[in-house]
Subunit: 383 residues, 4 copies
């Protein structure tokens, strides 16, 4: 008998090299684990059932001197394991040169260098077969008011994205961009802080169809926002290009817990939204194995990310298939919401002057508690 | 000598009838003040220096039976005082019929009734001269996952806005709509929770040019977001149609403090952004006089809202005019950000391969602390 | 076959009359449900399997004129159902007279009246057999700095508690007091905002042994604090006299969700701490049936509170009994923590100069992710 | 004419070596500034007007091999500048050996090593004249429930503190301990998360009079708590032994902004509480110069911390001396709160049955908005 929660490549799970490779440096302490060779990461993730890896330029090729050799070793490992590279991104936050951001740094020289760094890594991304190129602007922001002209920064952000879209188009790369919002940390306030702000910004771009989102669970939850609602809106706009799954406990520092181990109730609805909302891209984990873990703990946590997704997928599938749930959905009128408010052919004239017995209508119970309790019992595994 | 912080009509300050009229009912206690007659509100606000009032239908005309008489009294008071009505909005949250929302209620009858209620009050808004019609969807949301299909809810929201835009167009009303985002309270999670989500949604509308935002200070700060950044982005999109000024102390219940008495440092940058960012609409206060206040305290707090704005306006004006500040802005490269990253005629080809001495560039200090300290000293009034 | 999650009186579940009786008034809307007769509440809760009810004076006897009759009806209902009254408390927050607090109101007349109101209801509590008397100081706080002298307020709080302890002692009542902390809402900042602050305050009292805590899940989580840690510390001090179970989604307004439906992962550890930490008092729910619910929804949500506790109790019992968990606990050294750092007879002299190979020791993995994943799988019901 | 905001040694300002010495390493990026020699720090801080420095063992003597020489250089610098060492503390969080904490690590070897490290640095603290020894347990906590037995951890914490108190007593050192609470970061949840929890814990110690608090502005504000209220309660318990001043913007990552540049309104009340609440110890800044700053920016930010304190001190002094404020305080009954609720000789018998006209009393306005507006205008510098 097979464990139903064992991942296979069909599940499309992927991991950033920087996730299992996180050495544990934080504001208060140094590295607790040695550098992880990307080649080892590929092999270990393949054994665990992942389908792909993703990378920042600096993760994979930290040093120009060894670039060719490292890329050879890496592509060989991919070939040996059958793992793909589904996404890539640029590190525009680690080096001191990016302390004020990359694409929106006040210093124009920094912005030009940042763009060059992105362009170079897009070439590598295309070469390795990535279909999504993520931009997380972690240092694009400010600690104080006058230091960053937000309108000018958005102009520069747009200028950069327009240039990058043109580049990809002209090169004929089969790559789409995905912006990753975050409200704060490491900057006091980051530009494009939520799913919503990034969605709005995208509409301003010259080639907005090439640009979508890569929302991260923890980033939205740091603002106290409902992540499932966020990706539902992104899907509604046709912009959920990629996804970053992890865990967080509300407004506080960026915890990057393994998926399933933060807001558990939220995770149930995240998986429900992913599975039933029309997203069919990679399921990418962007988390950090805690500093308490050694190498074995790193892989235990990586395996658990995938396992938790599969556990939750089974639950949401059972939830949606449960006849009692379907009845409760109807009882709550949840299915009515898909019905237009106006009947075919009606206009405002048909609505104007509509009256109801508001008191009577207000007394109708919606039985949401019953419906939600059914969901919770599926989550708890007692139905 | 005139007190420089005494408001006049030219300052375009306005107040919701429901602000000074708040009776103090909250989850834990009942009314502490009697109902405030809108006519008295108009007279008192006029004496304090306000230029306009705003209203929900239920504030002004709570009872159909007395509608005509109340409107006559109200318009008479406006005429006597010279106050205008600059904005109006619909109460789609107070009556039990709206316990699951209005425009996105699961119950279609409720949605139809809600639309009718909006249409009716738009007519009144137009009649009274309001140029902005606000939609705050405080009950449009959910406490639990399955009870609200977010995609369907956004469809209904769009359907409603499209209908309303058509109505205003066909009636020839000189009215624009302004959505007011809020992350939560009174619902567990509210749809269109931030400035960003609402901006993105607007782009989906049939007549998006008729719809913009009415962001409220406290609503963004409840999500830990930087309100000045939020309205700066709204202005960048051309969508800051109206503004709700008040105070809040970060993620917690909606405090609706008088303007200037919450996040003081934030308020400085809010006024700076309003004054220098191109907004020239009404300065509308949406706050609640605390339950500790009697009638005198109500008017003291209303006067303080305007006074604090004027104090801060004087400060930001002085800040921007201060030669030392201008030098500090240049030293920090803040002015460089307005310069395109690419020179005229450059393309990605000119950027590709750009190199810099990143270590050297990374060592350059940006002197943001000096610049921000200058701002702070203007705020403290010691420069 | 019996449903293992059906409550019985042995489970010691209790509910405040004000929970199932909440009519749904909030800052933005009015009552959605009619008043619930306490007698009906008693009967319905008994049918659902609760063991006891609790009350504020104003819940049970809102009107002096009908006091005698209402108490007769109520005690008759208790007798008929076998339900007990295990706790009582005073409403010092609803009436406008308490808008600045009760025991720490600036107005001395208010303080005296508040004390009298408490004394009177303690008599009723004793008469009805309550063993715990809760003090939630929801209005004891401030919106602004100068308005409340915190040191003086703590003096008055202590004066009140000392008086109340003396009263109970002199009356020979078998009653202990339990303070219920909350960080904010309805006041901007509430005195004794967390479990910790209240624990510290208790130590200052003349008869501190008579006073402990009644911590509420949501109140601690509104401050982003770990509730299980909080009650573990309260137990460590011997001060967990009572408990308020409900649900919350982090820093935002007080949601008062049904137990089990907020922070699900947190709820697992709450039940684990309650069950294994030595608490054996009533399991009291202090939640609010959402405004979306009618009468049926009220009882569905009440039943779900108990059911969720029993589901989680079964899970934590299985977790602690699981041999693989026990092995993982040992592997993580969790059991070592019970062992004193010094061996018997050792003093600082034996510690001074202790050296270790810190690098070697720092490389040891703690396997916490494995252990936590086991817990999570018990929570998910897949082990 | 002297600038009234120029610090002198009489102002008792002090800085941690690790503050101005922070090199900018965070989770997302590396060092942006070279190591700062403690000797240079001493000289620069002396020039700026500080009175003292403080240190972790690892700041001052990172390497045993150079310990003697470094201490000689350091003490020489102190002598040359007249700066004192007023506080010291132990780094029990940076090295991987402390990844699970020091005094409450599950691994007993780690705990013994941690204690030895503290003992050794207490000797140095005493030698250098420090009167306060701070314990910040930044790694004493957990990311997940089962990994840390909170009761056992508190036992070990108490064991450690009891040992340390005994050591200081037996050595005859004139040193008191100060615990520094923090809710989270770098651990998911930290033990003794707030001022309150630490105050309560102290009461459990064998020699509790030797142990007090070192509360940090940002740490309490990360939990949304009112810091001025927190230190007011600590003072009320006689436990404000030391203070850490900095800035924060509510629940998010630990920002460690310069003092005065976070919650400005809060800072006013912090200084008011410090100045009028009976604290007369050092005014210690625990902040981080942002990564955007070079060496000049570091000193600009350090100077600004002190300057902002002096600006605020002048404001709160003027506020308390303002006759209109004094009248407003009386009008608000703030002075009544110092008056006992019971008159001399009264007992509960005199309170029992007290009645008031609650409706009438509830109508009395408290004029808190007027009082707070006076405070705000002092803060804004317009009175």
């Amino acid at each position: 008998m097979t464990d139903p929660y064992t991942p296979t490549k069909d599940d499309k799970f992927s991991f950033g090299l920087w996730t299992v490779g996180w050495q544990g440096v934080d504001v208060f302490g140094g590295a607790v684990r040695p550098r992880l060779d990307p080649v080892e990461a590929v092999h270990r993730l393949a054994e665990l059932g992942a389908a792909a890896v993703t990378f920042h330029d600096d993760d994979l090729v930290p040093d120009d001197a060894t670039r060719t050799r490292e890329l050879e070793r890496f592509t060989k490992a991919l070939a040996e394991t059958g793992l793909g590279v589904e996404m890539a991104t640029t590190n525009l936050f680690g080096h001191p040169v990016f302390k004020d951001g990359g694409l929106t740094a006040n210093d124009r020289d920094v912005r030009r260098y940042a763009l060059a760094k992105v362009l170079r890594n897009i070439d590598l991304a295309a070469e390795l077969g990535a279909k999504t190129y993520v931009l997380w602007g972690g240092r694009e922001g400010a600690e104080s008011g006058a230091t960053k002209d937000v309108a000018a920064a958005l102009d520069r952000y747009k200028e950069s994205l327009d240039l990058l879209c043109g580049y990809v188009r002209e090169q004929g790369y089969d790559i789409r961009f995905a912006l990753e919002p975050k409200p704060n940390e490491p900057r006091g306030d980051i530009l494009l802080p939520t799913v919503g702000h990034a969605l709005a910004f995208i509409e301003s771009l010259d080639e907005s169809s090439r640009v979508g989102l890569n929302p991260e669970v923890g980033h939205e939850e740091m603002a106290g926002l409902n992540y499932a609602h966020g990706i539902a809106q992104a899907l509604w706009h046709g912009k959920l290009f990629h996804i970053d799954l992890n865990g967080q406990h509300g407004p506080r520092f960026d915890q990057d817990l393994r998926f399933g181990a933060g807001n558990v109730r939220g995770a149930f609805w995240v998986v429900d939204t992913v599975e039933s909302g029309g997203y069919d891209g990679p399921l990418h984990f962007d988390y950090k194995p805690p500093r308490t873990e050694d190498d074995a703990g790193v892989w235990a946590s990586a395996a658990a990310c995938m396992r938790n997704y599969l556990i939750l997928r089974a639950k949401v599938t059972a939830f949606r298939a449960d006849p009692e749930v379907q009845q409760a959905l109807r009882a709550s009128g949840a299915d009515q919401l898909a019905q237009p408010t106006l009947a075919g052919g009606e206009t405002w004239r048909d609505i104007q002057g509509v009256t109801v017995d508001a008191d009577e209508l207000g007394r109708r119970g919606l039985a949401y508690e019953h419906l939600d309790q059914l969901a919770l019992e599926h989550l708890y595994g007692v139905r």
